[in-house]
């Protein structure tokens, strides 16, 4: 068995630009708001605080430039509501 990738061990880099150059016009993720149940897991687990909750508690990509495509949000989304646009 290979050593586990501890989701929480992903480096918490400060929010800011990275090699992916995501922005409000070039979002890293597609969120299916119809399936999202506002459980807050993605918002709380994202190591670079990409999300802000909207009025219903569903995630808005408020700081897309900070996304490192680390996969943590969507592997923990229990409702398959997050799809990464960049595989």
């Amino acid at each position: 068995m290979t050593a586990p990738t501890d989701a929480g061990e992903a480096e918490a880099k400060p929010a800011g630009k990275n090699k992916h150059n995501f922005s409000k016009d070039n979002l890293p993720l597609e969120i299916n708001m119809g399936w999202c149940k506002a459980c807050n897991l993605c918002i709380a687990l994202c190591p670079t605080q990409v999300f802000e909750p909207d009025r219903d508690g569903k995630p808005i990509q408020a700081r897309p430039e900070a996304c490192t495509l680390c996969t943590i949000c969507w592997v923990h989304c229990p409702d398959f509501a997050i799809v990464s646009k960049h595989k």
């Binding site: 929480g8 399936w35 149940k37 996969t71 592997v75 799809v83 990464s84």
Partner: protein, 284 residues
């Protein structure tokens, strides 16, 4: 088997039953969905065809999972998933048979089926989602409810001791036993892949959050607090071996706890007897 290493977020959607309504019936943040995602990615990475996979379950929140999965599915009676799965495996030995079960389903009403499936070492992969309580029926205590913990049937604290599903499986004869949590999802996914590829009875116990009942009755907070508590309380097997039983109290030892590639498998052994008899020989 072609193993695709890259993580892809969109594969899940390809394996959901098109006629089912989504989102699922599970509570917001329920760990069952996290395990379902990991299971789908594991199957996809191993490249199994849909028709060669059969998911079998009993009754419970966890046991609703095969209803959503676009494989061969059997949603059976409470506790009996392993009995049905044994029949499927026996009739179709090349089928990848996966049992998805809860702690109540597998260890209370289904406890006998569980130990005997382990004892036979039949080639079935069992994913036991352990949320320490009966979720579906409103939070009654289960065989994994820790001593002292609260449930609707242990309102003054549980006076019973809890089962260790992994220890039970290993002692009964299972040849692959591992534990993970819904926090350690990438590890869980790899463990499910290893379990599926293992020949013999494999158990993957996943510690998961039922915040609606277990979390609320034991003041463990929302899904985020519970998932983070699994991170805090999980100890890798290697580290656990250097710790005392006292230090390990309340911790979850994670990793592949037991693996025996030499153990003979039930369907193979049966086939050997059939072959001898068909050739006109004596069984022994």
């Amino acid at each position: 088997m072609p193993v695709v290493e890259k993580q892809r977020s969109d594969v899940i959607l390809q394996y959901l039953r098109p006629k089912k309504k989504f989102p699922s019936v599970w509570c917001p943040g329920c760990g069952n969905g996290i395990v379902m995602g990991a299971l789908i990615r594991a199957i996809d990475k191993l490249g199994y065809k849909r028709d060669e996979v059969c998911c079998v379950s009993g009754i419970g929140c966890t046991s609703r999972m095969p209803v959503y999965l676009d494989f061969n599915s059997l949603h059976t009676a409470h506790g009996r998933a392993l009995a049905f799965a044994t029949g499927v495996k026996f009739a179709q030995p090349n089928m990848k048979v996966i049992v998805i079960t809860g702690d109540g389903d597998a260890l209370a009403i289904g406890g006998n089926h569980f130990i005997h499936a382990c004892r036979r070492n039949i080639d079935i992969t069992t994913i036991l989602i352990n949320n320490f309580i009966y979720g579906m029926t409103g939070g009654q205590g289960s065989p994994t409810t820790p001593a002292g913990a609260f449930s609707t049937t242990t309102p003054y604290g549980n006076v019973e001791k809890q089962f260790d599903p992994c220890g039970l499986a290993q002692a009964a004869g299972a040849s692959f036993v591992g534990r993970s949590t819904v926090f350690h999802t990438p590890q869980m996914e790899k463990m499910i892949m290893a379990a599926l590829e293992h020949k013999g009875f494999s158990l993957v116990e996943v510690i998961a959050n039922c915040h609606t009942y277990y979390g609320r009755l034991n003041k463990q907070g929302d899904p985020v607090a519970m998932v983070n508590s699994f991170k805090e309380n999980a100890v890798m097997l290697g580290k656990a071996q250097t710790m005392t039983p006292d230090q390990l109290k309340g911790k979850y030892v994670i990793g592949t706890l037991h693996e025996n590639k030499e153990a003979t498998e039930f369907c193979d052994e049966y086939q050997k007897v059939v072959d001898v008899r068909m050739a006109g020989g004596k069984a022994r």
